[in-house]
Symmetry: C2
């Protein structure tokens, strides 16, 4: 299977960070995959505490940790010089270094040299694997549910992870499939779909959810939005390559315009459903919407219930805020 692969367990690297909001990657991994996180490394005394044992690189190596994962972002997405000694030592101690920041690990000669010396790997999760083929459209075995959105940043990754969790809880055979950098670091594998050359985009999406058991569900992280003036081609490629049986529309309550794109009104949920069905039918004629996931953080408690009830009545679909009520209602509808 051609995807990025990260070796567990992880040492979460937090640099000089003290604020959780600047360590979303690290805290996301700890939230969703605590079993993979064996330690954290802070470069300062009173650094952010993710609740993991604090370890040096040497202690991590001795504890059998396989990867140092950069869990924080520096200003500007770079890799500050003062991190390099730690990374070099980690490489020489046999750990891989995993990064999702803009600056590529493989562009830093000092790290490339240390990796070469030790045989450890520098894994840039923003860089797609090589040799992705063109999409075939061939029908694959197993079941797939894809997150789609009215826009970017409306909770697609969160919803997919919550669905995986809730499906596994009731004994279903389900795997989250990561299509973006943070998702890949959480899942330990995946393909950064938006970084793939567009001729191979549908093919990359096909690789992301390969043939599987008949009762297996891939829960696929979505990207962009099918009405997005910049990113809709990415959403379309992910859709036709995923050939999903089911999809969930993700939306943020109160948003009315495509974020950061002036003059593009947000599509309605109905429009997103209609277009996703019509485009997705190319590779799966049975595609259907099975629910709606709403980020209601802008609403008060009573508003929230009214909003979700009204929406559910209007659409005839389960509508949930996954952060508050989980995704059981969507899963039940999907299986029913």
């Amino acid at each position: 299977m051609i995807t990025i692969e990260i070796k567990a367990p992880y040492l979460i690297f937090l640099g000089e960070e003290t604020r959780k909001t600047y360590a979303k990657t690290g805290s996301g991994i700890v939230d969703w995959r605590p079993e993979l996180c064996k330690g954290q490394l802070n470069l300062i005394e009173n650094g952010l505490d993710l609740g993991l044992p604090r370890m040096s690189v040497e202690e991590a190596a001795a504890a059998g940790i396989k990867s140092l994962v950069i869990g924080t972002a520096s200003v500007g997405g770079g890799i500050p010089d003062q991190w390099l000694e730690t990374f070099e030592n980690a490489l020489l101690a046999g750990l891989d270094i995993v990064g999702g920041v803009h600056k590529k690990l493989n562009d830093i000669p000092r790290l490339v040299e240390a990796a070469k010396k030790s045989g450890s790997k520098l894994i840039d999760v923003r860089v797609p694997p090589a040799n992705i083929p063109v999409g075939t459209g061939r029908k694959r075995t197993g079941k797939r549910v894809l997150m789609v959105g009215t826009d970017c940043a409306v909770g697609k990754k969160y919803t997919a992870l919550a669905m995986e969790r809730d499906m596994r809880k009731i004994g279903l055979n389900a795997d989250f499939r990561a299509s973006g950098q943070t998702g890949i670091m959480i899942a330990g594998r995946g393909i950064p779909i938006d970084a793939v050359v567009c001729d191979f985009l549908a093919g990359a999406a096909e690789l992301l959810s390969p043939d599987n058991d008949a009762d297996h569900w891939d829960v696929i992280e979505g990207q962009g939005g099918i009405f997005h003036p910049g990113y809709s081609p990415v959403s379309m490629g992910l859709l036709i390559g995923s050939q999903p049986d089911a999809f969930v529309v993700c939306h943020e309550a109160g948003r009315t315009e495509i974020e950061e794109w002036d003059n593009f009104p947000l599509p309605t949920i109905e429009q997103v459903i209609e277009r996703t069905v019509s485009l997705g039918s190319l590779t799966n004629p049975n595609i259907k919407c099975v629910g709606v996931s709403i980020n209601t953080s802008n609403l008060g408690e009573s508003e929230r219930q009214d909003y979700l009830n009204d929406l559910s009545k209007r659409l005839g679909l389960p509508c949930v805020d996954p952060l508050i009520m989980g995704t059981d209602a969507i899963i039940e509808h999907m299986l029913g």
Copy 2:
């Protein structure tokens, strides 16, 4: 403007080729841009004759030729060793080398070194320019007509070039905009859209037809097909980034399946029109189909007329074979 730029005039390099069908790039450039082609270079005595003066690299440089353009493809898309001496001499004589074969000129150390020495350039037209931005969806000035297809290889490039020719003939201000390698070599500029990272695909399409005079038409080469299981995301990105006022559907008479993709029936022309309008409306609500271009090479003379007449009646649109009758009928409908 961020596009590939090729300096004219050209020396068309034909290697050891004797057959025109293996020199489609070279003969395409001579057919559509004879004014840019000042010479041809054959490595053998009885090589293919494109009707240009035969020149050595030295003669070409003395004649003011700026670029050696590889007009033929070797088996497998490589660059045979026996071509390298000629290319090296051309670089040292001050010519750029322009290639569209799979093997990249910039991956051949001997050529990279010669280019560095002389200041000449190695231009791989399959490699997009750097720093392409994300698509904005911003409305641009000027008019645009985009070729779309029921499939790949149905005459989109030919139709666009024929429209440019026929529009210029009646005094219209029109420019062919190349989105693929051969088109780029013909036009001397453009962006290989299918090689762009998908996050920047719509942005690349926006660069291809920048702001222009109110009466100016960009005639944009299409890619893929909006119902194609591998390439439809490319078609969608080109569509929304081009924000075309008008489009022409290109089709090959008699084709019933997506070529090389088993089990995918060809969409009808009506389906392509409907989907192109619905997707294209995102960035241009006034988009409309202005005609249909048919490759009728599989039909006999009388069949052809019946086929085009029937289709025209069915669709209420001008339907032409551009190779035989030009594109005047489409242009008239587009302007009216």
